[in-house]
Amino acid sequence: MKLTKDQIQKIVLGGMMFFGVIYAYFTFLLTPLTTGREAALKEIEALGPKIDAARSQIAKTKAIEAKEPATRQLLAQVKALIPEGAPVAWFPTKLADHFKREGIDRVAVRMLSEAADKELPGFSRLAWAVEIPRVEFINLAVALAALENGEPLLEIHMLEIEAGRDDVQFQHALLTLNNLARL
């Protein structure tokens, strides 16, 4: 079969149209679709770990929240142990009252230092020197035991007890202790 010139022209035109349609199909329809899908899949892949991390963070916070009441209670208890105001105004009185209750009348308390506690934000650490010029060893030991048991924020660092020169029954005591106060 011999093709006429007109037929050849039609075939050529048809072929050109066919390739044009194929090109347009891939370029303007299929490629953007595929690109969009791949982008969506990539974003899904990226969001997955983020969502997992978010969920685990929420779960972790909930687990920590379970400890909150006990923590709040402890902090409230500690804060309740510390009176309001400057420690130099209430601590010497508190200590003198304690020793008075234990039968030791003469007590001199003075502050040695005050500094913010680096480990405990919101608290300051105070060092005090306590001098008891005349005390019996047993009374002192009992008073110190009561002090150590009754004041959990206080710790005796140094303790010096010296026999009295005039009356050996009585001793002279010097304590260095630390306590915590609110800033």
């Binding site: 595929t34 969009g36 909150e68 405990l120 140094m158 303790l159």
Partner: protein, 215 residues
């Protein structure tokens, strides 16, 4: 045999030519290919649409979680701060050193013929955490050195019952030139200084022992 003359051969040829018209065939092929492409496009569109829907769902979930996570992170930071502070406070309170039991041990270990003239105690927090107790005193008796030695051992034993790493040593043990009267009777005496060092915290109980104790 009858002779048949096809007078329509021209018409038939034209019809045949029309049936196999390349343009027509091309159009049919194009329609088939176009239909296949359309189906494939539809299939791809469905896949893309599913992927986008999944992405939208994930994004919505992430957007929902984002403020919750932010709030949770802030809350966690605040709670962690509080918990750390509470733990440190608890640790500080629990690790305090109590001097009263040490004084009790010393009181119980000093015999009647020994008098302590000076007692210095230090928790040693700034010196490696070893508690130090220095005792100065005078021992009187027929064997004052033996009395002082007995007291040193007794103090070491008593403190050793509650604390670890205990060492009780004489810093000095010297004869006293003056004779001390006890019940009106002059007796020899020695002046001594004893140093007692120990770890303020008890050694942790091994796990196996702890389990056995709890049973």
């Amino acid at each position: 045999m009858a002779l048949r003359v096809n007078l329509y051969h021209e018409v038939l040829r034209a019809k045949r030519r029309e049936r196999y018209d390349p343009l027509k065939l091309s159009f049919i092929g194009l329609i088939v290919v176009g239909a296949m492409m359309l189906v494939y496009y539809g299939f791809q569109l469905k896949r893309s649409s599913d992927a986008r829907s999944a992405f939208e769902a994930q994004k919505a979930e992430f957007d929902r979680l984002s403020p919750l996570v932010k709030a949770a992170t802030e809350k966690e930071a605040e709670l962690t701060k509080q918990i750390t502070q509470a733990e440190r406070l608890t640790g500080r309170m629990e690790k305090r050193f109590y001097w009263a039991p040490v004084l009790e041990s010393i009181l119980a270990a000093v015999p009647p013929n020994v008098q302590l003239t000076k007692l210095s105690c230090d928790t040693g927090r700034e010196k490696g955490g070893i508690c130090q107790v220095n005792m100065e005193g005078i021992a009187v008796g027929e064997e004052p050195r033996a009395a002082a030695e007995e007291m040193r051992k007794a103090i070491g034993d008593r403190i050793g019952a509650s604390y670890t790493g205990v060492s009780a040593t004489f810093r000095n043990l010297d004869d006293n030139t003056e004779r001390v009267k006890v019940n009106g009777k002059p007796m020899a005496s020695v002046i001594f200084t004893i140093n007692v060092a120990f770890k303020p915290q008890p050694e942790p109980v091994p796990v196996q022992k702890r389990i056995a104790q709890s049973r």
